[in-house]
Amino acid sequence: MDAADLDKVDEIIDRYRGQEGILIQLLLDLQSELNWIPREVISHLSERLRVPKSQIYRIASFYKVINLNPVGRHVIQVCMGTACQVRGAHKVLDFTASRLKIKPEETTSDLAFSLKKVNCLGCCSMGPVMTVDEVYHGGVNLEGAEKILKNLS
């Protein structure tokens, strides 16, 4: 983390000055800036907000959306909601994982891809659903997943 990044962090913290109950909102905002929450940011938050680090970790690790490890340049989410599940989402997940040679929730060693399974993206009509870098793809079968992956690499 360099000084410019920490300045950005400070700027985000300042947005919430004087408000209560903001830790989760802050972590979400910081993540959308940095893609993940590095340790230095947690230390910095702890100092600025006067909240113990353990408390911040407790929250950050409870919520699935918060990444405590670096994420890949491309983030692939496979929806595992029930509607997707009954239309074969687990196959899409297994296939994608085996293609990327990582398990769900992991990142490839070259930091190119992260694979996440999510519990419902609310696009249940078009299941199975997969998102790549926040672009939604509906009706994804294995062929579709293959095409999507090919376009990325």
Partner: protein, 653 residues
């Protein structure tokens, strides 16, 4: 930006909007393109851009207004475009269709057959919503306006009569009147529990302690449900108006909208609606000159199903971990920061303006004896017309699936429906004539929950689906109380053994025992209802469990460990797709039986991990991979292979 300082101002603004030739009320042509998450995923953004460009090119950008609207629910057929004033409803529109729509439908007022909905059964085309079976059988009060409203523009909502209910409540009703009206309407909470809304409001009003809070629950963690997203995205002001009325009724000055971060568009539209309401003086001090002050903050969740539970959600709003706490006292008396807090679901809030505008009598004339009004369901899974459907309480599941949903694709049979999400259960085909309301579904071991209806066909394994929900809940249980945390884990272990063919005779009894304990002793409703998927499948599909346990057979051919895969040489075209995709490298080209015979692939059963990828990648025209389940499918079992390859009965392709 006009700040509305009285009821009169609001009326004037509405009149101004309609007389100025606002496209909603006047006869001028305008185009609505659904910009909900569903249609956007199907390419609606490109359609919108194409309209912008084409209208500009033809110099019609002024004359024809283009609206990016909320979701009308027919996601199956998106992107949806509706051309007004006639209300011509086009489905599956692509950017390439846009010049034709402008030329033919807008300029020449002619229909374009190729973009109309065609009924797959009768072949009839539907021009307007009321000619399309998916819409025709619905009763749409909550989502009806979505396709007419740009959710990012408060004027659209006001032009259609928005905030009239608030004006009425503030100017002509006391808080007590409002609560009486809600009580008499019979409205029950749409978040799953079905608690009578009026009673909850009453207790929040009567509770001592200030400040009081009102809260919108848009966590919608229930997998398979998306009505709250569609409302929050598509008509956020209707939710906000309900919230304002609730705040007035209980005497709150501050409110929160809790939206899960996985719904970025809902977050954005909720935020915009708050900003615009503030600019118009509909939030802030002295709202409509009535002396009522109120403001709202937006709070994003961060991916935790349990955080949708009332006490957990309030913990999250306080910036703490979103896990439940014991409810010795109702949150309506002591909730957020230990103050009286009124929490309702998005859809519950959206019903409030309707009740105030049209009266409790009108509302309670819809629905069944004990469940009033309409309910939005997400009709998904193995059904032809998936999407959001709003129907009166008390329609049957069969009507919903067949009349609105258009039946099951691929000529398959319906096996049952899953309702109520992870807290609900599976209802088998023979009970499809059950009326859908709060009480009827509970009597079948399921519940209405937040309104997901997931249709299952014969390719769904009841045991596997139960295992899926238990797995989901294991992931989502906060782990704070032992019965839920450990009970789920034990159930998961047992179900994993059953689907792997290692089930034991006493498993069903053990599962029931664990279920009983979890139901009795868990801290929150997540744990108390977590066994429902298991109990309801044991109740309605016991023979399927027994097939797994006694015969190591999965009748639906789903459970990986119990299914073997073979390739039929006479069908195989040796395209190599399966070989390329097999993660185990278990597939290779077979030895031709005779010289000159076509090449084919074979699966080395000793290396096969039974993932089924080969089955799914085999081109649909070829379908050479077959599945076999049951004891005799042991790969070393020669006869099973012969049987499979010979095309004997006893297995399904």
């Amino acid at each position: 930006m006009p700040r509305l300082t009285s009821v009169r101002d609001l009326q004037d603004m509405r009149r101004g909007l309609t007389s100025r030739g606002d496209p909603i009320e006047s006869g001028t042509p305008w185009v609505a393109v659904c910009a909900g998450t569903g249609c956007l995923a199907l390419g609606a953004r490109k359609v919108i851009d194409a309209f912008k460009e084409e209208l500009k090119k033809r110099g019609m950008a002024e004359a024809v207004q283009l609206k990016e609207t909320g979701c009308p629910g027919f996601c199956e057929k998106g992107p949806i475009v509706v051309v007004y004033p006639e209300g011509v409803h086009y489905v599956k529109v692509s950017p390439g269709d846009v010049p034709d729509i402008i030329e033919e439908t807008i300029i020449k007022r002619r229909l374009m057959d190729r973009l109309l909905y065609v009924d797959p059964v009768t072949g009839a085309r539907g021009v307007h919503e009321d000619e399309i079976p998916f819409y025709k059988h619905q009763t749409r009060h909550l989502i009806n306006d979505n396709i007419k409203i740009d959710p990012k523009n408060i004027s659209d909502y006001i032009a259609l009569g928005g905030y009239r209910a608030l004006a009425r409540a503030l100017s002509a009703m006391t808080p007590r009147d409002v609560i009486e009206e809600v009580k008499r309407s019979g409205l029950r909470g749409r978040g799953g529990g079905g608690f009578p809304t009026g009673l909850k409001w009453d207790s929040a009003r009567a509770a001592s302690g200030v400040p009081k809070y009102v809260i919108v629950n848009c966590d919608e963690g229930d997998p398979g449900a998306f009505m709250d997203r569609a409302l929050m995205e598509g008509n956020p002001h209707s939710v906000l108006e309900g919230l304002l009325i609730g705040a007035y009724a209980i005497g709150a000055r501050e409110g929160f909208i809790y939206v899960r971060a996985e719904y970025p568009l809902a977050v954005e539209n909720a935020r915009t609606s708050i900003v615009q309401a503030r600019e118009h003086g509909l939030l802030g001090e002295e709202i409509l000159g009535s002396g009522f002050d109120f403001d709202v903050r937006l709070h994003r969740g961060a991916g935790a199903f349990v955080s949708g539970e009332s006490t957990a959600l309030m913990n999250a709003l306080e910036g703490k971990v979103g896990e439940p706490k014991p409810k010795y006292v109702h949150t309506s008396e002591r909730g957020l920061w230990n103050r009286p807090s009124l929490l309702n679901n998005v859809e519950t809030w959206a019903n409030i303006p309707l009740i105030i505008n049209r009266g409790a009598g009108w509302f309670s004339s819809i629905g069944t004896d004990r469940s009033k009004g309409t309910k939005i369901f997400s009709l998904v899974g193995k059904v032809n017309n998936t999407g959001l459907v709003e129907v009166p309480m008390g329609m049957t599941l069969r009507e919903i699936i067949f009349d609105i949903g258009g039946g099951i694709p691929g000529g398959k049979k319906v096996k049952g429906v899953q309702t109520g999400g992870p807290s609900g259960g599976i209802i088998p085909e023979e009970h499809l004539d059950t009326l859908v309301d709060f009480d009827e579904l509970i009597s079948l071991g399921s519940m209405m929950g937040s309104g997901s209806i997931i249709v299952l066909d014969e390719d769904t394994c009841a045991v596997d689906l139960a295992r899926y929900f238990v797995d989901f809940l294991c992931d989502e249980s906060c782990g704070k109380c032992v019965p839920c945390r450990e009970g789920l884990r034990q159930m998961r272990d047992i179900l994993n053994e059953i689907v792997a063919g290692r089930g034991k005779a006493e498993d069903l009894k053990t599962l029931r025992e664990i279920a009983g304990l979890m139901t009795a002793a868990s801290l929150c409703a997540l744990g108390r209802t977590a066994a429902n998927p298991v109990l309801s499948t044991i109740r309605h599909f016991e023979e399927e469990y027994l097939a797994h346990i006694r015969e190591q057979r999965c009748p639906a051919l789903v459970c990986e460990r119990l299914v073997s895969y073979f390739i039929r040489p006479e069908l195989c075209i040796a395209c190599g797709r399966c070989r390329e995709n097999c993660p185990q490298g278990a597939i290779s080209e077979g030895e031709p039986i005779e010289e000159g015979k076509d090449p084919f692939m074979v699966i080395d059963q000793s290396r096969c991990s039974r993932c089924g990828i080969c089955y799914h990648v085999c081109p649909s025209k070829v379908r050479a991979v077959v599945r076999v389940s049951g004891k005799s499918s042991d790969p070393s079992h020669e006869t099973a292979i012969d049987k499979a390859l010979g095309g004997d009965s006893g297995w399904r392709r």
